[in-house]
Amino acid sequence: MTKLLQWLLTLALLGATWATLTLNLLGLSPLPPAWYQVLWPLPTYLLVTFGCYSLGVVGYRLASFNDCEEAARELQAQIREARDDLARRGMKF
């Protein structure tokens, strides 16, 4: 199954469950009114939460992205060392 199908299937299942409960599609005895106050805006809440989570994660990872200054300096030194050594061995650049 492709990732796209997995996503669609999961969303369809969640959506159907939500619709069944909020719209009382099965015609069962209705849930206590307090439940509906939570159920109705639940998808929106989840979406906003996920958006905040994403922003938070990307922001944190952006801020904590290593800059590797030391690696760059080390490479510069090694480049000089390599040039000298290769020139000694007869390399013409």
């Binding site: 492709t2 990732k3 796209l4 996503w7 994403s54 994660v57 990307v58 990872r61 952006l62 992205f65 290593n66 800059d67 590797c68 200054e69 690696a71 760059a72 490479l75 090694q78 480049i79 390599a82 040039r83 050594d85 290769l86 061995r89 007869g90 390399m91 013409k92 650049f93």
Partner: protein
């Protein structure tokens, strides 16, 4: 040191890398001499007009034709097929793929090898996004795009590896052979597809944090509308794998 029968074939695709090639080869020689692993370096040059091949010839004279193999092609045919071409000539049971532009430092190769042995992994992938990994020479915008793209990829594909677009990796030879047969994408997306397909085929993936230092010499060959082609590739993989 390590007295095993394992041999590591390093594939170095080059296009206009005459400044970088001697330096990367020198670093590779030193890294392997220190670690004591058996190795060969295969340079796949696509008819670079800047004389990369002449440099390679000189390196063969210095280090010997058993260590440095030049397997050129007549014209620029792209990275994916360069790996296929190089692999045909590889005699090692492991293949290491890396860029020749000094972004990937050979000092990490002994760590790749150690990691591979630890878990008998089919693939060991370098990662810029974990542990001590990182990048040098990127501005905030490029970092943001990189992090954002990586996050999106992780959410959509759940690939089981943290760096999908990097191309510093060690493969068991037969694994790489299988994967390359299956992969159809180009550019960055090709590296991404390799990992995604690897997961599908049930291959195990180990990771080693690497520092990625942006190229000092020469020009970037990718470019243009990278973001657009990345997104297209991501969505294609999302819908087809």
């Amino acid at each position: 040191m390590a007295a095993s029968r394992d041999k590591y074939s390093v594939l170095l695709p080059t296009y206009n890398e005459r400044e970088n090639l001697p330096l990367i080869v020198w670093l590779l020689m030193r890294s392997f001499e220190q670690s004591g692993n058996d190795f060969e370096i295969i340079v796949i040059d696509d008819g670079s007009p800047d004389g990369t091949q002449e440099i390679a010839e000189q390196l063969i004279k210095i280090y010997g034709s058993d260590k440095i193999l030049l397997r050129p092609r007549a014209k620029k045919l792209g990275l994916g097929t360069a790996y296929v071409h190089g692999m045909k000539h590889a005699t090692g049971n492991f293949i290491i793929i890396m860029d020749a532009d000094l972004s990937h430092h050979p000092k990490f190769i002994p760590e790749f090898i150690r990691r591979q042995k630890e878990g008998n992994f089919d693939i060991v992938s370098g990662t810029r996004y974990k542990g001590n990994g990182g990048v040098h020479g990127w501005d905030v915008k490029r970092k943001l795009i990189s992090r954002g793209a990586n996050f999106l990829t992780q959410i959509l594909l759940r690939p089981g590896a943290s760096d999908l677009t990097g191309s510093f990796r060690l493969y068991k030879k037969e694994v790489l052979q299988k994967l390359i047969e299956k992969c159809v994408s180009k550019g960055y997306v090709f590296q991404m597809e390799m990992i995604v397909r690897a997961r599908q085929l049930g291959y195990s993936i180990g990771e080693v944090p690497i520092s990625f230092v942006d190229r000092v010499y020469g020009e970037s060959k990718l470019g243009g509308n990278e973001i657009v082609s990345f997104l297209k590739g991501l969505l294609t993989l999302f819908a087809t794998t």
